[in-house]
């Protein structure tokens, strides 16, 4: 059976590789591949960059401690927290064809172990590049990395299978997996006890302000030292400086890896049901992404969904804005909110640490203003509830009775409204916070002038920026990420770099006329006479010029939309 599985994996790999190579014949993929390769070269191999510093850090003893503690924490999370994504993922075709076939459960596991070898080998290559050659042999380090990653993969699979068996058999399962449950339970209690008793030592290390000293103390706490020992054994050959040291450390690592094989293969966990369910969920998710370019989780029972009212009559384009606003809210994940909150908090902490002399209100005002500014730059890349989300639904949208230009404007307006709304909220926070601050801000009149000037200026910049992103999506849909499916590979990375460069250049070009016109309008009013109030007419002119530009471009984009073939965006 292993020969059959090897054939299946090898042919699948070959067919995917052939398809990618064929794709490179198209100029857009060839150019993107070149850009991607150049980028990777500049990151990893460019002699002008001091990648040796990265390699030497990655290989030093402190890094060894860091990796060991990290792997221990990772393994603990597998046992204690569980898995969001199953370690054993079967494709729908595998579920349909192999699960009912006369194939043993052990053989299904073998298939996954074999399939894991390709990502394991890719990880080895990546880490070889990150670690650099060091003083040892590349081949020996590659073998050490392979042993490490394979052991980790098998351990992850073991943890999942044991958890599945427990869930499946309840108390009976706990009795059968008594030794594992006992070991994990004891280890958890002992680790908690060790951490509690080690708190004084950790506090003392913390007082030294040396992060790696804290890591070292944590790793040398008695129980943590024992728990992390297998991971340190696995890491030892990776960090071995000589062939002799490697030979002395590889065999314990290899034994750890090999011990996992019978553990995994002789599991009695009936994982097929969970794997089949996961496969079905994956297929549904993929179908959702392919059909609508997004994924929405069903509401929990008893919880009502966020709603927005929409009148049955009026300007039809409003329905597109309404739809996209709902899409944004309903696809917003907790992870996104947490990430944004962490980033905003980090920014505020940074502002505080740089300006420790200022009061909290001043810091909040500054932070809010900075985030509003960051949104003007990055918002159009983050908020994508426009053509970048909807083009995958082109067939449905094209059947609607909306003119091309009208449709494009509505799509662009959806993102602009969201970004501008967030900026206005931040601006309000900044204004309110500034009024409580003792910092000598501009006087009230100047503050009012600045805020009033920003009110038309911010949406104008957002409009042009979102317009550029949507223009790219319509003109070169193959270069833009449509929906939420991220494409992999070096050429996808190259496409991303080229499109970011192109969109930045286009935005700068589009801003030239509005900024010139706005500057002229402000200059005519003379700063020396009206002060910051002279910015207001300038900002209004900027907004009017941006609107005029966007109007003209959307007429052209509307025609492009009406001619766009569905095959171009799939």
């Amino acid at each position: 059976m292993i020969a059959t599985f090897t054939w299946y994996i090898a042919h699948g790999f070959r067919n995917r590789a052939v398809r990618r190579i064929r794709r490179i014949r198209e100029p857009r993929y060839a150019i993107a591949l070149i850009v991607g390769v150049l980028y990777l070269w500049s990151i990893f191999f460019n002699p002008a960059r001091s990648h040796n510093a990265m390699g030497s850090f990655a290989l030093n003893g402190t890094a060894h401690l860091f990796y060991a503690l990290g792997l221990t924490a990772l393994a603990a999370s597998w046992w204690l927290v569980g898995f969001e994504k199953l370690p054993i993922q079967y494709t729908p075709a595998e579920v349909q064809l192999l699960f009912p076939a006369p194939v043993l459960r052990r053989q299904l596991v073998e298939l996954k172990i074999l399939q894991a070898q390709l990502p394991v080998l890719l990880s080895c290559v990546l880490w070889l590049v990150i670690l650099g050659r060091g003083s040892g042999s590349i081949l020996l380090r590659c073998i050490a990395l392979w042993v490490l990653f394979t052991a980790l993969y098998l351990h992850r699979m073991s943890a999942w299978l044991v958890r599945t068996s427990l869930a499946e058999h309840g108390a009976a399962g706990a009795r059968r997996g008594f030794i594992t449950v006992l070991v994990v339970g004891t280890a958890t209690v002992a680790a908690a006890w060790s951490l509690i008793h080690g708190l004084p030592a950790l506090r003392a290390a913390f007082a030294t302000h040396a992060p790696f000293r804290i890591l070292s103390v944590a790793l040398h706490l008695p129980v943590i030292a024992v728990l992390s020992y297998p991971f340190r054994l696995l890491l030892a050959p990776v960090f071995a400086p000589t062939t002799t040291a490697w030979l002395g450390t590889i065999w314990p690592a290899a034994i750890i890896m090999l011990v996992h094989v019978p553990w995994v293969l002789h599991t009695d966990a009936a994982f097929e049901e969970a794997a089949a369910e996961a496969s079905a969920r994956r297929a549904t998710r993929l179908a959702m992404i392919r059909s609508r370019g997004t994924v929405v989780r069903p509401a929990r029972p008893g919880r009502t969904r966020f709603h927005l009212p929409l009148g049955a009559s009026g300007f039809a384009g409003v329905a597109i804005v309404w739809k996209n606003a709902l899409a944004l809210v309903r696809t917003l994940t907790v992870q996104t909110i947490i990430s944004f909150t962490i980033a905003a908090t980090a920014l505020l902490v940074g502002v505080f640490s740089l300006n420790s002399g200022h009061d909290a209100a001043a810091m909040i005002a500054t932070g809010a203003a900075i985030i509003a500014g960051v949104l003007a730059l990055m918002g159009p890349l983050w908020v994508r509830n426009d053509l970048r989300l909807d083009l995958q639904s082109l067939e449905f949208l094209r059947a609607l009775p909306l003119g091309g230009a009208e449709f494009v404007r509505a799509e662009i307006a959806a993102s602009v409204c969201v970004i501008t709304g967030l900026q206005y909220v931040l601006l309000a926070i900044a204004v309110v916070a500034a009024s409580f601050s003792t910092y000598p801000w501009f006087d009230l009149s100047d503050r009012a002038a600045l805020v009033l000037a920003l009110l038309p200026a911010l949406p104008a910049v957002n409009l042009l920026s979102v317009l550029v992103q949507n223009t790219l999506a319509l003109l070169v849909p193959g270069w833009v990420q449509l929906g939420i499916t991220r494409r992999g590979g070096v050429e996808a990375m190259g496409q991303g770099i080229v499109s970011v460069l192109g969109s930045t250049l286009a935005l700068l070009l589009l801003l030239v006329i509005p900024l010139l016109a706005g500057t002229l309008a402000s200059a005519l009013l003379r700063f020396e006479r009206y002060g910051l109030w002279a910015l207001l007419p300038g900002a209004i002119v900027v907004a009017a010029a941006a609107l005029a530009e966007a109007w003209g471009i959307t007429v052209w984009l509307g025609r492009r939309f009406e001619r766009l073939e569905p095959a171009e965006v799939t």
Binding site: R292, L310, A312, S313, E562
Partner: protein, 257 residues
């Protein structure tokens, strides 16, 4: 001797004149011409890859014909697409729904797009007719395949289109849903809606359609009422649509069986 009729035939709801669609060197549809009258149920059949879906997509403005013209209720779909699309509905075989809008929000969205002022009054009976009332707050991902198809149908019918184009409309429906769908099509046709129905279910086409268009490799093979098609081909006398279809699309042996 009968008196000449003074009544004037209504203009066709769908007029297709020499429609051709090329994809590079591939001719998906080749100089296809036909008309569908208001109130008529017109069947479009052909083997896989014959160009049925391409024809339907061209007719509802999703793709642009390479040459030829298409008029929907008198409006050219290329030159006056908004007016043409206002009067038609296209229900594809694979329901095209927004995963982040609930059932009732889909209808709200469609109502605003098509300017259906009395949407609330129309939505309730439509949801009841399609057995979606209990699912009005559900997302498409919480619906079965058949329910999703029913929602797509509800979206298509909300604005009371004068032209209804259906691509495999019974896919995923249960027996009761199939019966109701047939009744819906017949009822809409009786109200004056021109229905263009594409399906591989030849019994359905034979049952519902007054005229049939058979295409193969993008070309017209036969058009007309079943009796007319058979009258032109005496060797097919007494055969059903399945045999006629197989004979005309080249699988004569199968037809003979």
């Amino acid at each position: 001797m009968s008196e000449p009729s003074t009544s004037v035939a209504p203009p066709p709801a769908i007029e297709v004149d020499r429609l051709t669609k090329l994809y590079g060197n591939l001719t998906a549809v080749d100089s296809l011409s036909f008309t569908v009258a208001p109130g008529e149920v017109f069947g479009l059949v052909g083997p896989n890859g014959a160009g049925k879906t391409t024809t339907l997509r061209s007719l509802c403005g999703i793709i642009r014909p390479t040459t030829g013209s298409i008029r929907i209720t008198g409006h050219d779909i290329v030159n006056d697409p908004v007016a043409a699309k206002r009067t038609l509905a296209f229900i594809p075989d694979e329901p095209q729904l927004f995963e982040y809008l609930t059932v009732s929000e889909h209808l709200q969205f469609i109502a605003r797009i098509y300017g259906v002022g009395d949407a609330p009054a129309r939505s309730a009976p439509l949801l009841a007719e399609l057995e979606l009332t209990d699912k009005r707050d559900a997302l498409p991902s919480e619906l079965s395949r058949g329910m999703r198809q029913k929602l797509a149908i509800a979206c298509g019918l909300l604005h009371r289109p004068r032209v209804l184009m259906l691509d495999e409309p019974l896919t995923g429906l249960d027996p009761m849903g199939i019966r109701k769908m047939k009744a819906t099509i017949t009822a809409r046709a009786r109200e004056g809606t021109a229905v263009l129905l594409s399906s591989h279910l030849l019994q359905l086409v034979e049952e519902l359609c007054s005229r049939i268009l058979i295409i193969q490799s993008g070309r017209l093979v036969a058009i007309g009422a079943m009796d007319d098609i058979i009258a032109d081909r005496p060797q097919l006398a007494g055969r059903g649509l399945e045999d006629v279809f197989l004979a005309l699309t080249g699988d004569g042996d199968a037809a003979a069986r």
